[in-house]
């Protein structure tokens, strides 16, 4: 069975020969450059260690490296992935503002990395629409074209290089339409918009929707036949509940998500699937997500409320595939012992693997502080319990 067949069988909710594995096919199932370097040392693979300037990132903001082919081959990674190329207006890598490094993202939001920080994040000054007060002003903003031809440049070649034996994932140039509200208006502002000015919030999200559909149209026209997993990144949950009430989600956000997913579905084959990445406790809206076309859930944050792996599999496993849930990353993977990691992997596999519908990966990215011994313990446990 090829890797591709293995993944697709699982996504068809049938048991393949063994549980498929992902490391680095998406920007949220990868590994930070610090923990990757530590892992390479641990494995005696010094020849793969690069100087910071030469590291290839799949996501600069989170510090996610492109994992070397030697490693993904050795780890028997079944899913491989790519991200859109830079827009033709891309101004180059990281700038500086004061002491902070700065990235400007695909819609013009700023992300800062102060000295000593491991990631880029947002703070005061990040939000290009912070001062916007009315719907009329939305068209005043100089909206980048998310379907800029630069995005497609070399994409086909990049995908072909990954190999036709693998399941291929592709993501977007910016986060989802709900996340964009926060990233463009600021967190406090957008929360307040949703509560006191929902028509403004919706008009904004309509704009994001329009731009994203243009992107997916362009990308899928170009490489739709070559990809199997469409990665849509949109955090909808916090630790104990959804970020907004299920009622508010259904009223304000769901119709827009539905438009995007429907548009995507029209352009992909039956052996392609929509993966939603959403952190946090989203149990209360999982039926809504299934209804509007989400096929796969990632990262499956079991440490969040109502997101226990056993429960999710029982209640939704017949129609929803799980891509993640392999090992808790808010506790065990970072702070546990290798034995605890192994036990955790065994437990999650027992919960999520039966009947297929499961691709193993960590719950979100492998963070900088994760000890290489724990990464290897996770992988070894996967090898041990992987066979169906």
């Amino acid at each position: 069975m090829t890797s591709k067949e293995r993944v697709l069988t699982a996504l068809e909710h049938r048991e393949p020969d063994r549980i498929p594995y992902d490391l680095g096919a998406t920007v949220d199932t990868g590994i930070h450059y610090v923990s990757y370097k530590n892992l390479l040392h641990y494995m005696g693979k010094e020849h793969l260690i690069k100087e910071k300037e030469e590291i290839q990132f799949i996501d600069l903001v989170q510090g996610m490296v492109r994992v070397d082919k030697e490693i993904v081959d050795e780890f028997r990674v079944d899913a491989r992935g790519t991200v859109p190329s830079h827009s033709s207006t891309w101004k180059g890598l990281v700038k500086k503002e004061g002491d902070d490094e700065v990235i400007i993202d695909g819609l013009g939001a700023k992300w800062f990395r102060p000295p000593g920080c491991y990631y880029f994040d947002q703070k005061e000054g990040s939000y290009p629409l912070a001062g916007m007060t009315s719907v009329e002003e939305i068209e005043d903003y100089d909206w980048p074209n998310l379907a800029d031809p630069g995005r497609l440049k070399g994409l086909k070649e990049k995908i072909e290089e990954l190999g036709e034996d693998y399941a291929i994932a592709i993501g977007g140039p910016v986060g989802g339409i709900f996340a964009l509200g926060f990233r463009m208006r600021g967190y406090t502002n957008f929360y307040l918009d949703l509560a006191r000015n929902p028509s403004f919030a919706c008009s904004l999200m309509d704009k994001f929707t329009e731009l994203e559909i243009q992107y997916w149209d362009a990308v899928l026209s170009e490489v739709g036949e070559l990809v199997n997993i469409i990665v849509y990144e949109d955090d909808l949950g916090q630790q104990d509940r959804t970020l907004i009430s299920p009622e508010m989600y259904r009223k304000l956000v769901k119709p827009r998500h539905k438009r995007i997913f429907s548009s995507i579905k029209q352009k992909i084959s039956d052996s392609s699937y929509i993966l939603l990445h959403s952190d946090g406790s989203i149990y209360d809206i999982i039926p809504d997500l299934i209804e509007i076309g989400v096929d796969i859930l990632n990262p499956v944050q079991v440490s969040a409320a109502k997101m226990d792996s056993k429960r999710l599999k029982k209640e939704f496993g017949d129609v929803l595939a799980f891509w993640g849930g392999g090992v808790d990353t808010q506790g065990v993977l970072s702070f546990g012992t290798p034995d605890q990691v192994r036990d955790e992997v065994k437990r999650r596999i027992e919960d999520l693997a039966p009947g297929g519908g499961y691709v193993f990966t960590t719950i979100h990215n492998i963070q900088p502080e994760v000890p290489p011994a724990n990464i290897m313990a996770m992988w070894e446990a996967l090898q041990k319990y992987q066979e169906y």
Partner: protein, 212 residues
């Protein structure tokens, strides 16, 4: 309807402009700033906190009520200072070093203010040194620390160590929160308390004040 009762309902009802109008009307009626705070604003935010904890309201709603209340407090602040009203407690709060996430701790700050605490928010990426400095410069009862990342939560014990090294640790209480933070972790690092959300953070702060 009596103006303070009306004001309380408007805050709970997330009505920002009405909150400002009624606060002014209450002052014009002759109520002291202290009375308005204690009899209308603080009880209103306590109700909002309860609603949030019960799952009847989510962050947007709680934030909008807090925003309305904040506007009212701005109106009252100069008068409260004049009256010499004692705050329920004095708090320094910040997101730890290396971490830029602030919506959670901003909400905690607002809810604490809405409960009658005096809050100094140090912002994000706050080093142990800055925490210590802010505390040394003032009479502080409570320190609140937030982190959203497993990578940065390890700064919390560093801050506690720094407080200890500066002879400040036993003069105040330490409370912690943030997505990866748990009660177990709080206990492990010697914090005095952990709260999973802004509403319960207020209750925790009130409990900790009783102990000081």
């Amino acid at each position: 309807m009596e103006v303070l009762e009306d004001l309380k309902l408007r805050v709970i009802g997330m009505e920002v402009e009405k909150t400002m109008k009624l606060t002014q009307r209450a002052l014009d009626t002759g109520y002291s700033a202290e009375k308005i705070l204690t009899n209308a604003l603080i009880p209103a935010m306590a109700v909002v906190g309860e609603q949030y904890e019960r799952g009847e309201k989510y962050v947007p709603e709680m934030l909008l009520s807090a925003h309305a209340m904040k506007g009212a407090i701005e109106l009252l602040r100069p008068l409260l200072a004049e009256s010499g009203m004692k705050p329920k407690g004095r708090v320094v709060i910040g997101t730890v070093e290396g971490d830029l996430h602030d919506i959670g701790q901003n909400l905690v700050s607002m809810m604490l203010e809405g409960a009658g605490f005096n809050v100094s928010n140090l912002g994000t990426d706050t080093s142990a040194g800055r925490f210590v400095q802010a505390i040394k410069e003032n009479e502080i009862d409570l320190v609140g620390m937030s982190s959203m990342l497993t990578t940065t939560m390890v700064q919390m014990p560093e801050v506690i160590r720094a407080l200890d090294a500066n002879g400040l640790r036993d003069k105040l209480k330490v409370m912690v929160g943030g997505a990866p933070v748990t009660q177990e972790y709080a206990d492990e690092i010697g914090a005095d308390g952990y709260a999973p959300n802004a509403a319960s953070a207020v209750k925790l702060a009130e409990r900790l004040m009783v102990k000081t």
